[in-house]
Symmetry: C2
Subunit: 305 residues, 2 copies
């Protein structure tokens, strides 16, 4: 493919930025990539493994002259980074982010952006439970959605350029407004993560079942929760604090439904349980048909895989 | 390997019995396998794909002359099957089951068992979200635990024989008492399943987010829930109705913890959230070290896999 941005800057060098850098290199999408990270250790690791063409010590230095700036720090750090880089941004540059929450990021970043740059919030729906500069891989975004959340009056050419970049990295791009984005993600990602964290915490607390038993016998169901609950603590703390209302709304609904099912168990209402479980099964089929997962049996993932 | 049982009978021909039959054939563990199922359609399918050496029309016929009888029906059907087969069991035979709940199965099955047979409850911790005679595969039990729950006074040779069978199919066998089994499974499997069912149900109910959005954007977190929530509705209805007390106890603990985390989100207590998420991450590491899963990034499972 052809170069889409001459100079790309990453602020933050974790799983997402690292994967973007590797994907751009693989597909020849950037003239040069420059990255920076808050800690000296992350910068050192990124240099060692050649994650970007250059790794520099400050965000100001990284963004100087960049045509595309990618903010890839935890949601709670976006505002400070935006303020820091603002004076150094090249006129005409596109600034995007990869945060899991959009309304709060827009509120934190947009006020700092000069009129001369195009700020286009984004969110690739891709990730693993691993973090840090060594976690990235070029194929992370393939067959995944990337949601772009353009503000009113966004420059069409700038939007088209960013869309082309994500498509070139293998993603399907859709646009969405920020509040709807935050609600959809509360349902599909934020509430499930909190629930998984909670269940894993309960298991750990239960004195009559040892952690080693929980770990040994986690084949069915629980293991998928632990995978989710192993995600980056800082990132997720910031997600919940910054998508508070939507997450709490979904959790309220969840608790209500859970109480109804608990009551059915207590009263022995097998019909209600059976009907509920039959309905949820259909949603799974929809996901497989939508190509977001395979039908391969996966609960029994072999330790060898 | 060598033949461990001359004649093995399966009552029920779903995922577990089918996988056992295929594993026994693969490793040469049974002289002959005979199976039966409640519905003519399941029996017909099992015949077509040669799941057992013989498929017969009644449980009584299947168990006649069998050295090992495997009860592989939903937990709620165990009692009726036990009553039906009891007069036809061969003296000296071993009868086992594969139910996910043990105290209730023992209560339903043991009273029907003649003194002349060895009833040894069991539970292989293996499965997928698929069901039925076509779902089985010989490798399902490899690197998985199988819990045996012998009653007081169980014949040591019979127990040793059943243990050898599970080990030959690739499992690690441990013994446990029934109440502890039911509590451990409530934590590691039953409560997580109910929670996943609930979350998927909430998503389906929410009118402002369409099912198609839920399905499209389910990359992160939610997809693992849908996988769990696609499990067999009859099996799971019976699990909850038959492991009621332990499941409700764990769900009570879960709700309590969830409320504490919701409160932290509402009040903006980032320290509490961060500490909680850091603790749960350690459990995941324990599971990987215990060899029950791999560290390979799996959230971003490619649709091609």
């Amino acid at each position: 493919m052809s170069v889409l941005y001459d100079h790309v800057a990453f602020v933050g060098l974790g799983l997402i930025a690292g994967s973007m850098s590797l994907a751009m290199r693989k597909h020849g999408l950037a003239g040069q990539t420059v990255g920076t990270a808050r800690t000296a250790q992350t910068r050192q690791t990124a240099r060692e493994i050649g994650l970007c063409d250059r790794v520099v010590d400050s965000a100001a230095e990284a963004v100087a002259g960049a045509d595309l700036v990618v903010l890839a720090v935890p949601v709670g750090a976006m505002g400070a980074v935006a303020r820091e880089i603002a004076p150094h941004l090249k006129p005409g540059a596109t600034v995007t982010d990869v945060g899991s929450v959009k309304r709060a990021v827009i509120g934190a970043v947009a006020p700092h952006m000069p009129e001369t740059v195009h700020f286009i919030p984004g969110h690739p729906l891709a990730g693993t439970e691993h973090t840090g500069p060594r976690a990235g891989f070029a194929e992370l975004f393939e067959n995944r959605f990337c949601l772009l959340v353009p503000l009113e009056g966004t420059d069409r050419a700038a939007l088209q350029g960013l869309r082309a970049l994500w498509e070139a990295m293998g993603s399907t791009v859709e646009t969405m407004d920020p509040d709807h984005h935050d609600l959809v993600l509360a349902v599909t990602s934020h509430a499930p993560h909190l629930i998984a964290y909670t269940m894993v915490g309960v298991a750990d607390d239960l004195r009559r079942v040892t952690d080693s038993e929980v770990i040994k016998y986690s084949a069915a169901g629980f293991r998928d929760f632990t995978r989710i609950a192993a995600s980056d603590p800082v990132m997720w703390r910031d997600v919940f604090l910054n998508n508070r209302d939507a997450t709490l709304e979904i959790l309220g609904r969840f608790t209500e439904e859970l109480f109804a099912l608990q009551r059915a168990i207590r009263t022995g209402d097998g019909e209600l349980l059976h009907a509920y479980f039959t309905r949820t099964r259909a949603i799974r089929r929809g996901i497989i048909e939508a190509g977001q997962d395979t039908a391969a049996p996966d609960f029994g993932r072999s330790a060898k895989r």
